[in-house]
Symmetry: C2
Subunit: 425 residues, 2 copies
């Protein structure tokens, strides 16, 4: 299929205005530039954000459905009950978040729906499927675990009752908080799968900016392997204990961190991080008796991730044996890689190219609602650049031109998925 | 000089009984074996320990002198005022200490003096110099900083008034505590230098046991270089940030720890330890923005220590530059190596050999009062093995045969230093 760009365009200033209005709720100012927001899931601020976005949906004449976990979906035409082509993301933030993470996907989705409603009214477009834009509850996981909880329940990956019993880090019960802010709805949950799902999101990493590319055609989400290692050696005097008689848990911890880096550098597509190292007793003149470290390994390909885990285990075993240190492993999390629908990935790439935008295929390093939707329907994602790769921070920033480009590419992707023959108007 | 062993021997059971009696003050029992003691400097327990040892000195007819910082020296004959050959150590302990650290040197010294008094009385020995045994205030430094404070004042390295103003970790003033336990004395301080000083001490490390050797002829005390490095990189998402775009302070910290180990393994006589690594924010899925680590380098040779510091600086600079991480250095402590009097070291080695004991020359990795005395008189040390290298722990242990061997070698070393021609009786 050769793709050409349609003449339809979203309204840039309307999009930027809505992003700014939503960012004012729980605003976190940053001196001299745009600020971020703090809207932890199901807090009053999140409730106020939901009310604002829901009011915009209603203003456009969408049918606003809320399910039992508080996911909100606005559908057009309001009387269509068959599976829509769905877009969206989330509007909850981390405690000190930016204004684009999640919000962009929801508000660009709203912009796409509004633009297409106008195009249909003008007779320029005829839709096969209804259109829908939604936001999912507690994507960030900063207040309730796990992250992506709303979309997980939406696709049937977690029973509703169990999800409602989730306890927040502040002690609140998810179900109580949902009721408190008025977002317990009657839409069945899990939901009937949509016809397709496409999510626009900022990259939250530095790859696009570093490569000078505007659009990421997201091929999937990296698999994640989180492990904690506890190394037990022997505490000794740093002055009186010769190197060859040591059982230095701190040294092995450091050597493992260096090995993780080397593995990641040598293995295409692998990222590896040791973000936590705790030494005990942690004194300048005492050889550490015990060390606890975490290892975060990610790869978009399941066999490659498994192989990295095996190589790590072998390297750790050799380092520990040589030093005479015991190792115990605690798996903390393991998620298989997610592959998005190849046709959706191709479509994103083709549309971006047709719009004259530079585009590269890439795996997402972070988790997104789209990976949950991928369990039940053809799904994909579009990335726009994050300046300096910064996210989860009030200084998170994406150039307005890039936001506009991303939204227009989302527009044409949604349009093609929602029209019968994939033809352009 | 060919050395032969004398026929004099200390009384093993008297020595072991005194060690046990002193250990009962502030006793820390260990199930199924000998326990340790808790007698932090100038606490009631330290006072009680001082009273006991001082009473033993008085029982032997020694003249007991106490100086302004609470150092206690027992001299024989009591009417001799010329410089004695001095032995001794300390009787304060770390909070959870063993029964040998320090105490052995004081009580073996007492045993040596008692044995030589008997030998003089029997007409077997004639002394050129008086004999003295002492214990120095606050050697451990666990309650007041710095460690070896009493011997430092004794040799004039720290003004008495300044030392008396030292504030304990518990807020107490050193001078007040000294007065409270009744150990402010009138002996001038700094003291008149002794003729010589020899200290018997447990090794507090695993070298002698590991080599199957009974006696260490201590050549000096390693120089110490303590530095703190703060590495500042950039916090990034562990999933979305490719390895080559990271400024990972945690990785550089780990690589420095590995470099320290490699340097120490490659450089004869160098020990190097990274005992503390703190990563910030210290989260499994966040590339560390900041890392603080400590580096402890020790070598018995000053140029070698300086060269190790230079090599470390160069390796850190290269690692930090490659990763794009800033480094700041904070020097925490720097002590030049101490060399004991070569004649005293030779004497210890010769006497040990004459006693049929295996002996090796070695530098001390830890600090000792003898290094202060080395500033003002010929000084040396004798080490006995520490089982498993364990010290500063109630389970600290040295075999009674080794304690006895060490005390008998101290006896002959002191005898030779105290007799005019170094001849044997």
């Amino acid at each position: 299929m050769t793709v050409t760009a349609t003449s339809l365009r979203i309204d840039r200033s309307r999009l930027l205005t809505r992003i700014d209005e939503l960012a004012q709720i729980g605003a976190l100012p940053v001196e001299g530039r745009e600020g971020g927001s703090s809207r932890l899931a199901l807090t009053d601020a999140d409730g106020a954000g939901r009310d604002l976005v829901t009011s915009w949906m209603a203003d456009l004449g969408l049918r606003v459905d809320i399910d039992g976990i508080g996911n909100v979906v606005g559908t057009w035409p309001a009387d269509r009950l068959d599976p829509p082509v769905l877009t969206g993301s989330h509007i909850d933030t981390v405690a000190t978040g930016g204004r684009y993470d999640g919000n962009l996907g929801v508000l660009a989705g709203l912009e796409v729906v509004e633009t297409l409603i106008e195009a249909v009214a003008d007779g320029d477009v005829e839709l096969e499927h209804p259109l829908a834009v939604g936001f999912f509850t507690n994507e960030e996981g900063s207040r309730f675990a796990p992250d992506m909880l709303g979309s997980l329940v939406y696709v049937g990956g977690l029973p509703l009752e169990e999800a409602l019993d989730t306890v927040a880090i502040d002690g609140a019960i998810l179900g109580d908080e949902l009721e408190r802010i008025g977002y317990v709805g009657g839409m069945p949950c899990p939901a009937r799968p949509p016809a397709a799902f496409v999510e626009l999101h900022i990259e939250q990493g530095p790859v696009l900016e570093s490569d000078g590319i505007t659009i990421g055609a997201v091929t999937g989400v990296q698999g994640i392997s989180w492990q904690e290692l506890t190394l037990t050696g022997q505490s000794n005097h740093a002055g009186t204990t010769p190197i060859d008689l040591r059982h230095d848990a701190g040294y092995v911890a450091a050597a493992v961190a260096v090995a993780v880096r080397r593995m990641a550098s040598e293995t295409p597509g692998l990222v590896g991080t040791v973000g936590r190292i705790d030494l005990h007793p942690g004194l300048i003149n005492v050889v550490a008796a015990r060390a606890t470290i975490t290892v975060d390994l990610r790869h978009a390909d399941e066999p490659a991730l498994t192989s990295a885990e095996a190589r790590l285990a072998a390297e750790v075993a050799e380092l520990a044996t040589t030093e005479g240190v015991d190792v115990s492993w605690r798996p903390l999390a393991r998620f298989d890689p997610v592959r998005f629908d190849p046709k959706v990935v191709d479509l994103v790439e083709d549309v971006a190219t047709a719009h004259g935008r530079s585009v590269r295929r890439m795996a997402s390093g972070a988790g997104h609602d789209a990976q949950m939707l991928a369990r039940v329907c053809p799904a994909g994602m579009i990335f726009t650049p994050s300046v300096a790769g910064i996210s989860h921070n009030p200084t998170e920033f994406t150039e307005p031109d890039d936001l506009e480009a991303g939204a227009n590419i989302l527009l044409d992707v949604i349009l093609r998925l929602a029209t019968a023959a994939g033809t352009t108007p």
